[in-house]
Amino acid sequence: MSEVVFRAEGLRKSFGSLRVTDEVSLRLPAGRRHGLIGPNGAGKTTLFDLITGEVEADAGEVFLGGRSLNRAPPDARARAGLARSFQRNNLFPGLTVHENLALACALKHGIGHVFWRRLERFTALWQEAEENAGRLGLADHLGQRVSTLAYGTQRQLEIGLALVQEPLLLLLDEPTAGMSPEETSGILELLSSLPESLTLLIIEHDMDVIFGLAERITVLDYGRVLLEGTPGEVRGSDEVRRRYLGAAH
């Protein structure tokens, strides 16, 4: 088994008296495609927030590549190799697709602070952004403002921004939410073309997507891990069926 890239130990979080994450632990070896499912309100997105540092955990620890990220704010965690896409499109609406991608590229290369040279001069950066746009199927929209794009196209960019970061661990929060079947299969194609070394943790409501993509799946319920296993095991579990799949199908 390959080396563990990401580890979360005993994460806990309460909002008021409501415990939304309860002793959640997770180990992901390099290259793992891991699914995260559970009914609405199971605490899936909160778990992402705890991993990326957007929400501070009450207890527990997060490691990436053997390093503890506990005291690090979200931006430092991103630089350490975490990237995420959001459940709701979370972009830079006044900028073009090209600029959105260039922004992510600039941060990846650590040149965001450069103030003495015009951004236009960084031709390699724009080139890289353009190549990424091509890979993401956004080549036709390069010069368009994000706010003028159709929802599905924005969604592609949402995932694209995270991909551009070339992270160690990629967190995708319902990447296909609200997309048409064609768009969904486009996203699936994109995800299957990702480098094998990339570790992926994905929240998804579309069971066909998750069972087709994930090697292992964690089922959350009321903030707790109900089960972790292969797609076959999850499908075969009576408890999961009762609590979740039964309700969905």
Binding site: T52, E54, P73, P74, D75, A76, A78, R79, A83, R84, F86, N90, L91, F92, P93, G94, L95, T96, H98, E99, A102, L103, A104, A106, L107, K108, I111, G112, H113, V114, F115, W116, R117, R118, L119, E120, F122, W126, G143, L161, Q165
Partner: protein
């Protein structure tokens, strides 16, 4: 590849031409106005960097203007420094204080950022108001202007001084424009639009905001130093929050985030104030000249109108107009 903000440089060029023409045409009083506009433009552009570019709405920016003005006044009058050295000192003092303030202020957002900058600006006001060394609420006079006599220039001459101010304003503009168009400037724009996402892409957002706040404060300090030189006089009113409010109005009037718009807004603002408070202007409109005494009423209504109606400001409207004309032109060309 990309044509972002295509009218920025043409508008700046146009404004420069107008400024030069005005300089040649202006009499004694006109030169004073021109210098005032240039200095206010520097101040407004420094605020635009915070408000329009990075999205940090400060209602205490005048505090740093006053710091710069008092630093120059103190250094020249008490220590006998040459004005140029005092100017550098002003920039350093205002910038350093802005960094210190920013360390705390940039943690807050929205209306709370407005409130904390208001409080801190008023802190400077209250200090200068009571500071006996600086003349308290009477202020202090005696700040000298640059000594350019080795170049054969007499800065006491309003025409020379206003030309100098215009050149400095132009230089500040160019520097800020380059900054805004650098990767750092792009990050500030992105912070304005979506701070949290930028952080999740790996940008240390607070540090960037702090840098912008410090730089904005330093440039405000520069404007303050020039203002002290221009009038030879500093008073606590320079720090009062209403001046920060007026600068915000100028930024919105010109077009928030457009830099050159802030400079244009400063010009419109000064001219308007000058006209509204002049009885003959109202008589020219076949109205009573007495209205001039109550010019602030008109100004207040104007402020409200600007905020309610301006949306993207004069610059934004111009941009829109140019866009329309262009596409109409292209449409006709395509049809022919």
């Amino acid at each position: 590849m990309r044509e972002r903000d295509p009218i920025q440089l043409p508008v700046a060029g146009l404004l420069a031409v107008i400024a030069v023409a005005a300089w040649f045409g202006a009499g004694y009083f006109g030169q004073e106005l021109l210098a005032e506009i240039a200095i206010l433009a520097i101040f407004a552009m420094s605020l635009d960097l915070l408000v329009g570019v990075a999205g940090m709405v400060s209602l205490g920016h005048a505090g740093f203007l006053a710091l710069g003005a008092y630093a120059t006044a103190g250094a020249t009058v008490f220590w006998g420094w040459p004005p140029a050295a005092a100017l550098a000192f002003s920039v350093a003092v205002a910038g350093a204080c802005a960094l210190g303030v920013g360390l705390f202020a940039v943690r807050l957002g929205g209306v709370f950022f407005i409130m904390i900058t208001l409080a801190i600006g008023q802190m400077f006001y209250a200090y200068f108001f009571k500071a006996r060394a600086f003349g308290g609420d009477n202020g202090m006079s005696g700040t000298p202007r640059f000594d350019l006599s080795p170049l054969g220039l007499e800065t006491g001459d309003p025409a020379v001084f206003s030309a100098l101010m215009l050149v400095i304003a132009g230089a500040v503009y160019v520097a800020l424009l380059l900054l805004v168009r650098s990767p750092f400037g792009m990050m500030l724009t992105a912070i304005h639009q979506n701070e949290n996402r930028l952080a999740s892409l790996g940008c240390p957002v607070r540090r960037y905001k702090l840098a912008a706040f410090g730089l904005g404060g330093a440039i405000a300090g520069l404007a303050g130093a020039l203002m002290a030189q221009h009038t030879g006089f500093v008073s606590p009113d320079l720090a009062f929050w209403t001046l920060s409010g007026e600068a915000l109005i100028i930024v919105i009037l010109g077009g928030s985030g457009s830099l050159v718009g802030a400079a244009g807004g400063a010009a419109v603002f000064v001219m308007l104030r000058d006209h509204l408070s002049d009885g003959s202007f109202w008589e020219g409109l076949r109205l009573s000249g007495d209205i001039a005494t109550h010019w602030q009423l008109v100004m207040g209504l104007f402020f409200i109108a600007v905020v309610l109606l301006a949306r993207d400001g004069l610059y934004g409207r111009l941009s829109w107009l140019v866009d329309r004309v262009r596409s109409a032109w292209r449409g006709r060309g395509g049809g022919a």
